[in-house]
């Protein structure tokens, strides 16, 4: 029995709880600190990415291109559901001609950035965390350090920028395919006038208000999800269980971060205060 365990047995319950709370708080702040330093070193490593674009291109493929199919199919279905649901509500008020506007605004402002970021966290984020965590567990990161190669510059930075750059493009793809899905259901199936569908959309969507804000959101989400995924992998305990926990935490923390940040950003962009 260690001294700590012996002490823990003698102390009153309240002290034990307090000790537990203290340790938890220290862990949380410790992790936040490590995360911040990690981000700092990653951003400093960006020079390596600029001088060796080959590293970035490989990662753009595995992080971005390989997510395209998932994002496109999901976008299509989300757009189709939006059109179905929107049509039933709008037709009650005789406003089914604004269906195009409604589908496009929902996608560009909210669903495009948010849903594609959630999918991105599940597809690319978990893969990044597992990859980095396994590289750590199999001493590949350590081995690189001993070969005088900085893993932050060589491994982390290219992945970070790949995620950061892919996310807005994937969100744009999601919205675009979603609008096509809305068109297929709204115009081809439900019989909304094609001209009205597009012209209302064109008149209603504002470039600065809607599109730029949507892009800002997806940039922020891309930044945060990739940061969480890479940090969780890098900070993982180097065991099978540690890597699995890191992967799970990546998806859970990313989802929370995306939804909470979405609220904050929406309030800042569209809130009247």
């Amino acid at each position: 029995m260690t001294n700590r365990e012996r002490d823990a047995q003698d102390e009153p319950f309240v002290i034990g709880r307090l000790r537990h709370l203290g340790r938890l708080t220290l862990n949380v702040f410790g992790k936040l600190g490590r995360g911040a330093f990690f981000l700092f070193w990653t951003l400093l490593g960006s020079r390596e990415v600029l001088t060796r674009p080959g590293l970035l291109i490989v990662q753009l493929h595995s992080v971005g291109v390989l997510s395209v199919l998932l994002i496109a199919i999901s976008g299509l279905f989300v757009g189709m559901v939006l059109a179905l649901q929107g049509y039933t509500v709008l037709s009650d008020y005789g406003a089914e001609q604004t269906l195009g506007y409604m589908v496009a605004a929902s996608l560009v402002r909210e669903l495009g950035p948010v849903v594609s970021a959630l999918l991105f966290a599940g597809r690319a984020g978990s893969a990044l965390a597992a990859e980095i965590g396994l590289m750590k567990a199999t001493e590949q990161l350590s081995g690189m350090e001993m070969m005088a190669v900085d893993p932050i510059k060589r491994i982390i930075a290219p992945r970070f920028f790949a995620g950061f750059l892919s996310m807005p493009l994937l969100a744009a793809l999601f919205s675009t395919v979603g609008i096509i899905g809305g068109y297929l259901i709204g115009v081809d199936m439900l019989g909304v006038d094609e001209g009205a569908f597009w012209s209302r959309m064109q008149a209603g969507i504002d470039f600065d208000e809607d599109i730029v804000n949507g892009v800002i959101k997806s940039v922020v989400f891309g930044f945060v999800v990739t940061w969480i995924a890479l940090f969780e992998g890098y900070d993982a305990v180097a065991t099978a269980e540690g890597v699995s926990r890191a992967t799970t935490r990546t998806v859970v923390h990313s989802a929370f971060a995306i939804l909470a940040l979405d609220f904050v950003l929406t309030a800042l962009m569209f809130g009247d205060f």
Binding site: E139, S142, E145, M147, A148, V149
Partner: protein, 270 residues
């Protein structure tokens, strides 16, 4: 820096103390690694032998004492100085630590591509020479997942010598190897050390293989150096502990039973 017997030492460790959280790993360890020799650091599992290699490579910082390599205090170096020192040190990890997304050829070429601007034809020749040295020139197109444990270690060895280092550190090179791979590795370590004029540090608990190639052995237990000398001197040592370790006796100063209360008392306790 001169060792007691007058040979020049490449690595000098003085009064090293190191804690992992509150657990003491090293408690005043001092040792010298002579130039051009194979020095073994032996001890039971969990004595921090790998930690010692990480301290020498500057991946960990000591809590007390000093570690110097080639006259430079490792933990006082700035990061670019540390990186240029590491280019002159090869390390063979227990798992091989090959990059799993690259094939054998690219793994060996990795340090060359990262640190040099050599033309592709020269990189190819260098990599093939290093692979020839470990007998795996024909395996250059295989992926790390297609290699056996012994082959992976040989590839890692080829990679470790890619930049022609002054020193190689081997972390448990013999652990979990079949007799043939074992023989191959023992011979490779010996031959490379002589042919390339290296200095080698082997961390191991495989008594016979290590004793057969080491010039000098340090035995570490519970954070201290409990014995050192040439393999013959160590095997003849009168330390009970060293005798238990080298003969693999189940009981001795290191007890078979984990500390517990009396057996009978424990059985009758309800």
């Amino acid at each position: 820096m001169k060792e007691a017997c007058g040979r020049e030492s490449l690595v000098a460790i003085r009064d090293l103390t190191f804690f992992r959280e509150s657990r003491m790993i090293f408690d005043g360890v001092s040792l010298d690694i002579p130039v051009g020799k194979i020095t073994a650091i032996m001890g039971p599992s969990g004595t921090g032998k790998t930690t010692l290699l990480r301290l020498i490579g500057g991946q960990l910082r000591p809590d007390g004492g000093s570690v110097s390599v080639d006259g430079q205090i490792v933990h006082a170096l700035r990061s670019h100085q540390l990186y240029s020192l590491r280019k002159r040190i090869g390390m063979l990890f227990q798992s091989g630590a090959l990059l799993t997304d690259l094939d054998v050829f690219e793994n060996v070429a990795f340090p060359l591509r990262e640190h040099t601007r050599l033309p592709e034809s020269l990189i190819r020749s260098l990599v093939l020479m290093k692979l020839q040295a470990v007998g795996l020139r024909g395996a250059r197109h295989l992926m790390p997942s297609e290699l056996s444990g012994g082959m992976a270690r040989r590839v890692a060895l080829a990679r470790a010598i890619a930049l022609d280092p002054m020193m190689i550190m081997y972390d448990e090179p013999f652990a979990g190897q079949d007799p043939i791979s074992l023989g191959v590795l023992v011979q490779l370590i010996r031959n490379l050390n002589e042919a390339l004029g290296l200095t080698s540090i082997i961390v191991s608990h495989d008594v016979h293989e290590t004793a057969s190639i080491a010039d000098y052995i340090y035995v570490i237990s519970q954070g201290k150096v409990v014995g050192h000398g040439t393999p013959d001197a160590i095997i003849r040592s009168d330390s009970e502990w060293v005798q238990q370790f080298f003969k693999g006796l189940p009981d001795g100063p290191v007890h078979f039973h984990y500390p517990a209360r009396e057996y009978a008392e424990d059985l009758y306790a309800s």
